[in-house]
Symmetry: C2
C-alpha cells in the first residue's frame, strides 16, 4: 500500500534485489537523491501528530525516522518517529507493493530518514498503547529528552512573557569583563589580546547600573560562569541565569513579591501549556505534581530555624542552612503548608554578601531572601545597598579591598533608587519542577570540571 | 505648593538655613532617611507619564531625578525626570512653601532622587515644547539611550514571539567549548581548570545537533565571541547573536523565507509598538523611516553583480562583495525597489564556508544567502551539508584537518534531515533599523580590542 523512499543513503546498502525483472513496484521505492534544493515540488508533508481519524482514507506523505522495523511474512511494520510522536506504517505485498519492496523496507537502517506515501486507515481494534487509537498510522509518545527541553524553552518564554507584561526591559550584559564580578574566587580567566580578562560570574553589577540609569525594572537571560571545582548533582560550571533587578518605592517586598509572582506565572503556564511534556517525563521519571500557593508562602529565617530545631536539628541563629537541612526544611514545609515552593526571608546578615542591605530593625538580619523548589534553592536575592557610604562600610567589614570594587561603589554616587533583585538558575528550575535528580538532565550540553564536550 | 524631600543625602549639603525660627514650612522638606524597607506606607507614587489633564487638581506623590533646577526670585522650577519622561515642578513661596524651602529646592544637586508631593494644575498657556501641553507638571521626552535599549529589548521580544508562534523551540547552547567552532582563528582561549578551553564563535554546531535530534526548528539568543583585532564601526569582540536553524522539506527557500518573514514581523512590530522610541532617537539622529517589502525582495548574486557592473564596479563572478560595494548595492537596490531590506541569494561557493551546500545546478554557486539592512549585512545563512561524505569532500577541498572536525562530521552519520539557518547580529539590527552609525551606540557595554570596562 505505501510506497517508501529512503531519503538518504543508508550506511549499509540493502541487499541486492536479485530478480528485478519480476518487480512490478520498482518505481515505488528506492534511495532518494540528496536534497540540494533543486526542486520545489508541491507535495505536502503531513505531520505525524496530525494523523488522526479525521484524515481516514486520505493519501498523505510523511517524513520520519525509522524508529523500529519488523518484517513478518509478506508484511513489514515500520514505526516512523517525528519528535515526540510516532506512527506505524505497514508495507504489505499487494497491488502497490512487491515482495522486493517489502524486503527493501525491512532492510532500512534504524534512524534513517524516509519519505512515505500512504493511505490513512481507520483501525477496527483500538491500539491500547497509543493516544491516537483509531487510525492505522497511529501516534504514540517516545522521546523524554525532547519533552524536557521543550518545557525548558517554555520556562524561558513564560519568564519573558510575564516580565514584559509587567513592564520590564530586557537587557544584554557583557560576559567578558575586566575584573572578577564577585571577588577573585571561582572565576575563569580569558586571554584577551595582550591582556587577561574574566568570564562574568553574574550580571549583577550591570543590572544595578541599569537601575541607576533609571530603567526601573530589568531582566536578562544569559550564561553565567563559575569556576567551581565541585562535582555535585546541582552544580555546573556554565549555566543559564534568569536575572531580575527592580527599583522599588518603599519596601523590598515589592520586588520579592514580583519575583515570586513571576515564578508562579511560570508554574501555571507550564501546567497549562506543557501537560503533554510533563506527563511524558513523568512516565519515565515518576514524580508528584508540583504544588504552589497563591500568594506564595513567605517564612522568616527564624521561623525556619524553629521548625528545624523542633525536628531535632542543632543550629545557631546566624548559621547558614546546609544542603541536607534545606531539604529537610522543604519536607517540613510541604507537610505543614502543602507547597513545593516558598520564600525564606530575612537571612542572617553574616551569611550574605557585603552589598546586602541590613535589616534596620535587627542588626543581625538582612533584607534578603532565597526561594526554594522541592527543598532546593533556585533563587537568591536581596535589597542591595544603594548608598555608597554604607556600601563602603560593609565592604570594609568584610575585609574587601576597596580599590577592586571602586567602579561598583562609584556607580551609586550619582544617586540610585532603592532596589532589589535576584538570580534564578534555569536548569535547576527545570530539574525541580519535573522532579528530576540531576541538573545534567536539564542541560543539553552540560559543563562541569570534567566535561567540556560535545 | 509642593513639599519636597530629597530621598538621599546629596553629595554637598545645601547651605545652612540661618533663620530656621522663621521657617513656617520646616516640616515640609528635608533629607529623607535612607530607605531600608523599614515601613510599607500606603502612599501611592504616580508615574510622570501619567501626569495628564485628567489628574488636574489631584494631589500626587512623584519620585524622580532632578534633571534641571532653576531658581527665579521667590520661585524654583525643578524638572523631574523619570526614564524618558519629565515634568516641571514649581516651588513658590506661599502658604505651603517658605523662602527657606525654595532655597533648599534650588540647592538640590542635579541627578539627586527626590520625592515630591504636589497638585497637578492645568496651565492656561500651552507649553509648545512638550507633548502633554495642558498641565503644569508637564511631560517631555529626553533620554535617547533609554529609547535605543528599549527598542532593542523589543527586537528580542518580537524575534522570540514570532518564532514561538511559528513552532520553534528555544535552546541554550554552551559558550565554553573544547575546540574552536569555526577553525582556529579569532578564538578566545579560557583557562579551564588544568586545561584550555575556548569561547564559542557561534552556536552553529549545537543548533545543527538539535536538528539532527529532530527538534525541527530551533532558535537561540546569546553572546557570541570573536577575537578579531578590528576596530570598525560595526565589529565587536562580544555581541548578541539571534540564531535560527530549521529542517525543511524540499528547498532551503522554505527556511530563507521563514527567516525573512521573522525579520519583517520584527520591523512591523517595532513600527507599531515603538513609535515613541523611534521618534525620540530620530530627534537626535535624524533618519529616513525603515522601508521593507512583503514578501521580501530576493536578488540572486549574479543580478547584484550586473547592477554593480552597470554602476561601474569591476568584479569577477566569484569575488566576494567588499563593504563599500555592499553599501553601493544597498543604494542601487533602494533606488530601484524602494526597500531597505533584501535578500541576496546564491553566493559563489568559493566565498562561503566548507559546510555550505553547493548549488546542484551550478557548481560555482551555493545554496547560501545574506540579508541586508540599509546596505549592511545583518545575517549570513545557508543550507548546510547534511551528508557526511559530501561534507568530508568539501572539508578536504578547503584544506581543513579532518581530525579537528570529526565530531561535527560524525553528528550527521545517524541521518540528518536537510536543514538551513542563519545568524543575526542584534546590535547591528538595532543600529541599522534606527539608522545609527556605530554599533557601540546599540551595545550597552561594548567590547572591542581596546575596551573591556565597565
Amino acid at each position: 500500500m505505501p510506497s517508501a523512499n529512503a531519503s538518504r543513503k543508508s550506511q549499509e546498502k540493502p541487499r541486492e534485489i536479485m530478480d528485478a525483472a519480476e518487480d512490478y513496484a520498482k518505481e515505488r521505492y528506492g534511495i532518494c537523491s540528496m536534497i540540494q534544493s533543486q526542486e520545489k515540488p508541491d507535495r505536502v508533508l503531513v505531520w505525524v501528530k496530525d494523523l488522526t481519524v479525521q484524515k481516514a482514507d486520505e493519501v498523505v506523505w510523511v517524513r520520519g525516522r525509522v524508529h523500529t522495523s519488523r518484517a513478518k511474512g509478506k508484511q513489514c511494520f515500520l514505526v516512523l518517529r517525528q519528535q515526540q510522536f510516532n506512527v506505524q506504517a505497514l508495507v504489505a505485498v499487494g497491488d502497490h507493493a512487491s515482495k522486493q519492496m517489502v524486503k527493501f523496507a525491512a532492510n532500512i537502517n534504524k534512524e534513517s530518514i524516509v519519505d512515505v506515501e500512504g493511505v490513512v486507515r481507520k483501525v477496527n481494534q483500538k491500539i491500547g498503547s497509543c493516544t491516537q487509537q483509531d487510525v492505522e498510522l497511529h501516534v504514540q509518545k517516545t522521546s523524554t529528552s525532547q519533552a524536557v527541553f521543550r518545557l525548558q524553552s517554555g520556562i524561558c518564554h513564560l519568564f519573558r512573557e510575564t516580565l514584559i507584561n509587567k513592564g520590564f526591559v530586557e537587557i544584554q550584559t557583557p560576559k567578558i569583563i575586566s575584573a572578577a564580578s564577585e571577588g577573585g574566587a571561582n572565576v575563569f580567566t580569558v586571554s584577551y589580546f595582550k591582556n587577561n580578562a574574566y568570564l562574568a560570574q553574574s550580571p549583577q553589577l550591570y543590572k544595578q547600573m541599569c537601575i541607576c540609569a533609571d530603567f526601573e525594572k530589568v531582566f536578562c537571560i544569559g550564561p553565567v560562569f563559575r569556576a567551581e571545582d565541585s562535582n555535585t548533582h546541582r552544580h555546573l560550571t556554565e549555566f543559564v541565569g534568569l536575572d531580575i533587578e527592580m527599583a522599588f518605592n518603599y519596601h523590598y517586598h515589592e520586588v520579592m513579591e514580583e519575583i515570586a509572582d513571576t515564578l508562579v506565572q511560570i508554574f501555571k503556564g507550564l501546567q497549562e501549556r506543557f501537560q503533554t511534556e510533563i506527563q511524558m517525563v513523568n512516565k519515565q521519571f515518576p514524580c508528584e505534581p508540583f504544588k504552589f500557593l497563591e500568594p506564595t508562602l513567605r517564612l522568616e529565617y527564624c521561623e525556619a530555624l524553629a521548625m528545624l530545631r523542633e525536628a531535632g536539628v542543632e543550629m545557631g541563629d546566624e548559621d547558614d542552612l546546609s544542603t541536607p537541612n534545606e531539604k529537610l526544611l522543604g519536607r517540613l514545609v510541604k507537610e505543614k503548608y502543602d507547597t513545593d515552593f516558598y520564600i525564606l526571608d530575612k537571612y542572617p546578615l553574616a551569611v550574605r554578601p557585603f552589598y546586602t542591605m541590613p535589616d534596620p530593625r535587627n542588626p543581625k538580619q538582612s533584607n534578603s531572601y532565597d526561594m526554594f523548589m522541592r527543598g532546593e534553592e533556585i533563587l537568591s536575592g536581596a535589597q542591595r545597598i544603594h548608598d555608597p557610604q554604607l556600601l563602603t562600610e560593609r565592604a570594609l567589614h568584610h575585609g574587601i579591598d576597596l580599590e577592586k570594587i571602586k567602579a561598583y561603589i562609584d556607580s551609586f554616587r550619582f544617586g540610585a533608587p532603592p532596589h532589589a533583585g535576584g538570580g534564578i538558575g534555569l536548569e535547576r528550575v527545570t530539574m525541580l519542577f519535573l522532579g528530576l535528580h540531576n541538573v545534567r538532565q536539564t542541560s543539553m550540553f552540560p559543563r562541569d570540571p570534567k566535561r567540556l564536550t560535545p
